[in-house]
């Protein structure tokens, strides 16, 4: 079976700053893959490179066995979608939920827009009552649901998730994570998920990669974290930190 996503020696350079240094990774179909690392380590850059939003200057990306070129066509966007970190910044401030969801359908020329919008909203647990609201009339969790609905409406097979819950309260985070898990199960989606919260990553992903300074430093199974079976100091630090504050003796 061809992997859903396969990246080889991917390199991204902003001006003269190398944000991603020859990173390789393969994600099987239906798998959920996690990315962790400190701020600025290139996690978002990796996702954005796949989505065609970052300047790739080396390496290759294959999606379902297809090599991607410099520009992405419409067909690509029906396969790969992304959910952004900041629910407040990823929804157009002047558009209703309806309009937001209509846009992708319109671009791809779907006919049964009415039904699809309805279904998408139901799927993310937002009743039709939210359909004609503006983004500022929604809470953070609701916004992230809308973003997920928008990503799902084109029925992609791969979903890129860039810290989808880090801006949300813990209670809301749980709801969104549950929703993501459910759609993944229902639709047999492939996930690539970024988070700086190890708890979230182990909860959601089977495998993960630890990044630092634009490079991979360690590849782990989710279980390794629970058993503290890690090789790198950096990863260990992350683990310790996630436990909370420890007062020195």
């Amino acid at each position: 079976m061809t992997p859903a996503l396969s990246i080889d020696k991917l390199r991204v350079v902003y001006d003269d700053f190398i944000a991603l240094k020859d990173v390789s990774l393969t994600v099987a179909q239906g798998e959920s893959f996690g990315l962790v690392g400190e701020s600025g380590s290139g996690k978002s850059t990796l996702l954005r490179a796949v989505a065609g939003l970052a300047p790739v200057s080396g390496g290759t990306i294959d999606v379902s066995g297809q090599r991607l070129g410099k520009s992405r066509d419409k067909a690509f966007y029906r396969q790969v979608q992304m959910v952004f970190q900041d629910p407040y910044g990823s929804l157009h401030p002047r558009q209703t939920v309806d309009r937001l969801l209509l846009e992708p359908l319109d671009i791809h020329g779907f006919a049964d827009t009415e039904k699809r919008i309805q279904r998408a909203l139901d799927e993310v647990g937002l009743g039709s009552g939210f359909r004609f609201r503006y983004s500022h009339q929604l809470s953070g969790g609701q916004r992230q649901r809308v973003a997920i609905a928008r990503a799902l409406i084109l029925e992609p097979s791969i979903l890129l998730l860039d810290e989808p819950t880090s801006a949300l309260d813990a209670s809301v985070q749980a709801e969104v994570l549950n929703l993501l898990e459910q759609v993944r199960r229902d639709r047999k989606l492939t996930f690539v998920m970024v988070s700086h919260d190890l708890g979230v990553i182990t909860h959601m992903c089977e495998r993960l990669m630890v990044m630092q300074g634009g490079e991979e430093i360690e590849r782990l199974e989710a279980g390794d974290l629970a058993t503290r079976n890690v090789a790198q100091d950096y990863t260990r630090n992350l683990l310790v930190a996630s436990e909370g504050f420890v007062r020195d003796a």
Binding site: S39, S171, L177, N178, Q182, H203, L225, F245, V246, D248
Partner: protein
């Protein structure tokens, strides 16, 4: 333990076009030389509580309290000048995001010196010395260099340390830290907490630590106040957080994914209308 701060029935409300928004609805607590955590979800009124104590609420806001007293000074009756003299000097506040809280066109050193010279009559050279010491105290490795840098030239962690230095240089007795670490990496986060911790221990400072991260607060603070919709719904010792009685606190604790715990789906919070009352 002598009490630094008395807050009794603090209320903060904002008149808006759609009616009055009550951000804080009757908060009471007292604080000594200890670490008091305030937790709660977004919008529960944590920041407004802190700002009301500082006197930094926006002009249009209305502040009421039965008692708002800082080491014997009635803050509500104090003149603006008196409060200004307190701010930065005896009460200080660390803001959430160093990226926005530092003046972008002034060097870090000057911003620190500015606080000092507002409150104390010190010469330029001495002020500089003390600022450098302070930078060193918040564990900045190369204070001389950082002194002359602009905020955009330092990382978030460094910026937050500079912010702390700026707020601590006059040696306040009370520090309000409003989510001082939520913009930072987990590893940096702990460094900062360690600095704050030292200050409380070494200087005998009172600390109000505002956060939405229960795990952090429970491990860092002595006491915790849990807020919901502008009210305190529970107050307890930090170490006893896991035995919290209120279903809201319980729910918050439970819904976080933990390493090693395999709970699919995660339990979610079921809000009850009566919590609002």
């Amino acid at each position: 333990m002598n009490t630094l701060l008395h807050v009794e029935d603090l209320r903060v409300s904002f008149p808006t076009r759609t009616g009055v928004v009550e951000a804080v609805r009757g908060v009471s607590f007292a604080l000594g030389q200890e670490r008091l955590g305030i937790v709660g979800e977004s919008g529960s009124g944590k920041s407004q509580t802190g700002r009301a104590i500082m006197g930094l609420t926006p002009q249009q806001a209305e502040i009421k309290a039965r008692r708002l007293e800082f080491s014997g000074i009635d803050l509500l009756k104090a003149s603006p000048a008196e409060r200004r003299a307190l701010r930065g000097n005896r009460i200080a506040m660390i803001l959430q995001d160093p990226k926005y809280s530092l003046d972008p066109v002034m060097t870090i050193g000057r911003q620190i010196v500015e606080t000092l010279r507002t409150h104390e009559k010190v010469g330029k050279a001495e002020a500089r010395e003390r600022a450098l010491d302070m930078l060193a105290a918040v564990q900045i490795r190369d204070p001389k260099r950082v002194y002359d840098l602009y905020p955009h030239e330092v990382s978030g962690g460094m910026g937050q340390r500079a912010m702390i230095a700026m707020m601590l240089i006059a040696g306040p007795e009370l520090l309000i830290a409003d989510e001082p670490t939520s913009a930072l990496d987990v590893t940096v986060q702990l460094d900062i907490l360690r600095i704050l911790d030292r200050l409380v221990i070494d200087r005998g400072m009172g600390l109000v630590f505002i956060s939405h991260d229960l795990r952090l607060v429970s491990t860092f603070c002595d006491r915790v106040i849990v807020m919901y919709a502008g009210k305190i719904i529970e107050e307890l010792k930090a170490s006893e957080l896991s035995q919290a009685k209120h279903p809201y606190t319980q729910g918050l604790l439970n819904c976080m994914p933990k390493i090693g715990a395999d709970r699919h789906p995660l339990p979610v919070l079921d809000r009850q209308p009566e919590w609002l009352l």
